[in-house]
């Protein structure tokens, strides 16, 4: 309950800051990929909540871990039970901002490189991240994309001894969000 209240306060802070111009989606896509010597692991999640405040540059996304879909059922089981422990840590979140907001003109159509800085929380561990992404400003919305690597050890995700060295220690995460203006209530 405490976590929910904290998250709601943070999201509220984003929404209530200044003359907020919010763009949101509930169908964002987050996928990850790792190519170790033992096996290739790929999974995707297409029900990701994401929002950006184009006035302040604050940007969030939230992912339910159990919504990741894998090609192999066994991988999905291992992912949820042994790696991310999704019963204990059901969500992954990112809360941060567009660091170079002055370089991104959300009022003009075009594609802009963006530096995204903030806190990425996976497996209950929060780390500072700074990654390059793009925002494509188009008619009626903004498409945000970023691809970056995370080190499993940084999030206290341990690889079982039997497969150490055969599963990649870094995984590539891709985020694609098609953000639309927030409907007015």
């Amino acid at each position: 309950m405490k976590k929910i209240v904290i998250t709601l306060i943070l999201i509220n802070a984003i929404f209530l800051t200044g003359n907020a111009q919010m763009f949101i989606t509930k169908n964002g896509k987050v996928s990850f990929y790792s190519d170790g010597s033992l096996e290739k692991i790929e999974a995707y999640n297409t029900q990701v909540n994401s929002a950006i405040n184009i006035t302040t540059g604050q940007f969030v996304f939230k992912v339910l871990m159990k919504s990741f879909s894998f090609e192999k059922a066994l991988m999905q089981e291992h992912f949820n039970e042994n790696y991310v422990e999704s019963d204990k840590f059901p969500n992954a979140t990112f809360q941060g901002l567009v660091a170079n907001l002055n370089d991104v003109d959300f009022s003009a159509l075009g594609t802009y490189d963006a530096i995204i800085e903030g806190d990425l929380t996976i497996h209950g561990i929060k780390n500072k991240v700074k990654e390059i992404g793009t925002f494509e400003v188009k008619e009626g919305g903004i498409i945000g994309s970023a691809t970056f690597f995370v080190k499993l050890a940084d999030y206290d995700i341990s690889i079982p001894g039997a497969v150490t060295g055969k599963i990649a220690e870094d995984i590539e995460i891709s985020v694609d969000v098609d953000l639309k203006p927030r409907p007015t209530n």
Partner: protein, 145 residues
């Protein structure tokens, strides 16, 4: 044939059977078929949503990771490439409508076009949790349609 050769062949055969079993039924075991699975809980969509939104932790323990069969009047259907998301909206919040979002299996894509906001429907699927705005149910099938 000498006994040791027979034992060797038999052991090889058993080993191959074990490897084949592990390969087929463990490593490549199919995903659970939620369409055919028996629901762990049958409940009204509205009750399910409010259980989560009023006390997410107890609802999480009860429903997350379970097969739910929910009944209610959908608010609208979102079209997503080759699949649809049926939305039961009960509140309005920071992310717009809040409620239950059910991703239908692609085979129900055409049937989802017939869904309207007047008729009650029943949906079965795998509940992946509550993201503080919506309850997410994946791999859903339409019951009795």
């Amino acid at each position: 044939m000498k006994n040791w050769i027979k034992v060797f062949i038999l052991a090889g055969f058993v080993a191959m059977c074990v490897i084949a079993y592990v390969w087929i039924f463990v490593y490549n075991k199919p995903h659970r078929n939620y369409e055919k699975a028996k629901a762990d809980y049958e409940l009204q969509a509205k009750d399910c949503y409010y259980h989560f939104s009023n006390g997410a932790e107890s609802a999480d323990i009860t429903y997350t990771g379970k097969v739910l069969e929910i009944t209610g009047i959908p608010t609208y259907v979102e079209d997503m490439d080759t699949c649809s998301i049926i939305v039961f909206a009960y509140e309005s919040g920071m992310f717009g409508d809040e409620g239950i979002r059910c991703s239908l299996l692609p085979k129900y894509y055409m049937q989802s076009k017939e869904i309207n906001n007047k008729e009650e429907i029943t949906i079965k699927g795998y509940c992946t949790g509550y993201n503080e705005t919506d309850v997410i149910i994946e791999q859903c099938s339409l019951i009795n349609r």
